[in-house]
């Protein structure tokens, strides 16, 4: 049993991560709808926010995977600083990639951070290597490739069916379709991503002694707060990544936008069904590239795509490294001391505010414009 202050700090940090997850990943849901003008930016983001909230209540399979499939809950139970350090690793990586406008995976940042901190605390015994490879690494490779292929086939079929028709009404039809496919994508995102924070809060509650490691479940208040945090983050909307995903990889037409969103939603929903904590970022980015490459390989800006893939490859090791370093820093103040996490939380808050301030001074919009 650990102190209440430490629990509050860990839960607060988890909800802060959830907010950055929504803020960072808004682009996954709305970028294609905005770039094809299917919806005005603020309407798209408002709709995504509501559906993210609703999606968080649909299923809890992914939360269970995060809570007991990646790191050993009984190891985490002894040291809440592991969960805290993992969250700081994830938040830091999210802020860095947002700063450079790169759509990296919040899910992998979270898992990497927790794994890095658990490894620093207990060596390889704290990490469930089989779970990490089988439930994170392999789906991380499969998901973007699958989304790429599905969206590629999808757009070829679309063009085959509507290719000879007048572009005006066809474009209008697919813009309407994007409202539906974007809605499904937002629902799938809420279902998949809000649960990761729920899983982490459950780990903290296990650590505090509120939940038995042998009987993992997700309390209702955890579901409601996690859903609210991700919805608020989504509503705040990270415009830099929306711009990258919506117009810097390919210039999309409405049919491509529909195929990318529909394929992304199908892959994420299927992954959520089998309980994989899949990266929505990898999936939708893969789908956007697939929808572009199937039309014409040169339509994809492969330099931008390469930067995104490099960020994906770096996410797990970088966030794990930060998580491990933060754990080491908190440990200086003693195992389960409150001073270490408090100091680190203040420092990360200052760092995040400096990053936002620097972007504002350079004239970059932080949130989506009205139109």
């Amino acid at each position: 049993m650990h102190s209440d202050l430490l629990l509050v700090l860990v839960v607060g940090t988890a909800l802060a991560f959830d907010f950055t997850n929504g803020f960072h990943d808004t682009a996954n849901v709305v970028a294609t709808s905005i770039s094809t003008r299917a919806l005005p930016p603020r309407v798209a983001i408002g709709m995504a926010s509501l559906l993210n909230f609703a999606g968080a209540f649909i299923s809890l399979a992914v939360a269970a995977t995060v809570a007991k499939g990646i790191v050993d809950p009984s190891v985490v139970a002894l040291q809440p600083a592991i969960v805290f350090s993992g969250l700081i690793g994830a938040i830091s990586w999210n802020v860095v990639t947002w700063y450079y406008g790169l759509p990296s995976s919040s899910s992998h940042a979270l898992i990497g951070g927790v794994v890095g901190a658990a490894f620093a605390a207990n060596g390889s015994s704290g990490v469930m290597g089989d779970g990490l490879v089988g439930k994170v690494v392999v789906p991380a490779i499969v998901a973007p490739i699958l989304a790429f292929l599905v969206a590629g086939f999808g757009i070829l079929v679309c063009y085959r069916i509507v290719g000879r028709l007048r572009p005006g009404p066809v474009g209008a039809g697919f813009r309407f379709g994007q409202v539906m496919s974007g809605g499904m994508l937002a629902l799938a995102h809420g279902t998949n991503d809000a649960q990761k924070t729920m899983g982490v809060i459950v780990l903290a509650l296990v650590s505090h002694g509120d939940i038995s490691p042998n009987h993992i479940h997700v309390p209702s208040w955890v579901v409601i707060t996690a859903a609210s945090a991700i919805a608020l983050g989504t509503y705040a909307g990270g415009w830099r990544i929306i711009r990258t995903l919506g117009s810097r990889i390919i210039k999309m037409d409405p049919a491509q936008g529909f195929a990318a969103q529909g394929s992304g939603a199908a892959v994420i929903l299927a992954a959520s069904h089998v309980g994989y904590p899949l990266s929505t970022t990898h999936t939708i980015s893969g789908a956007v590239m697939g929808a572009g490459a199937a039309k014409r390989l040169s339509a994809v800006r492969w330099g931008v795509a390469g930067n995104i893939v490099a960020a994906w490859l770096l996410t797990l090791p970088a966030s794990a490294g930060i998580g491990a370093a933060v754990y080491g820093a908190t440990r200086i103040f003693g195992v389960n001391s409150e001073a270490g996490p408090v100091i680190v939380a203040v420092l990360i808050l200052i760092g995040t505010m400096l990053a936002f301030g620097r972007r504002l001074r350079r004239g970059s919009p932080l949130t989506a414009p009205q139109a």
Partner: protein, 81 residues
């Protein structure tokens, strides 16, 4: 041998075929709905009401398949909880 122990191939397989099947079915159905609606508008303007009605029926059928897929997706997820 190690890969078969660590990787849940049945789940990966389930992920691949369900995502591929649903996404392609929805894309084809919605493309047919768009084509049907577009042809319906053109033919109605030209006064060919019988053919326009047939295309309208096709559009409605396409939309119905998309709506069914959306409902199915939500139901499948809800059952998992």
């Amino acid at each position: 041998m190690l890969a078969s122990k660590v990787v849940e191939w049945s789940k990966i397989g389930q992920l691949v075929y369900s995502a591929l099947g649903v996404a392609l079915a929805v894309t084809i159905a919605f493309s047919i709905a768009v084509a049907g609606a577009t042809r319906f508008a053109e033919l109605r303007r030209d006064g060919a009401m019988a053919r326009a009605t047939a295309w309208a029926a096709l559009a409605v059928a396409g939309l119905a398949v998309v709506a069914a897929a959306i409902v199915l997706g939500i139901v499948v997820m809800a059952k998992k909880s």
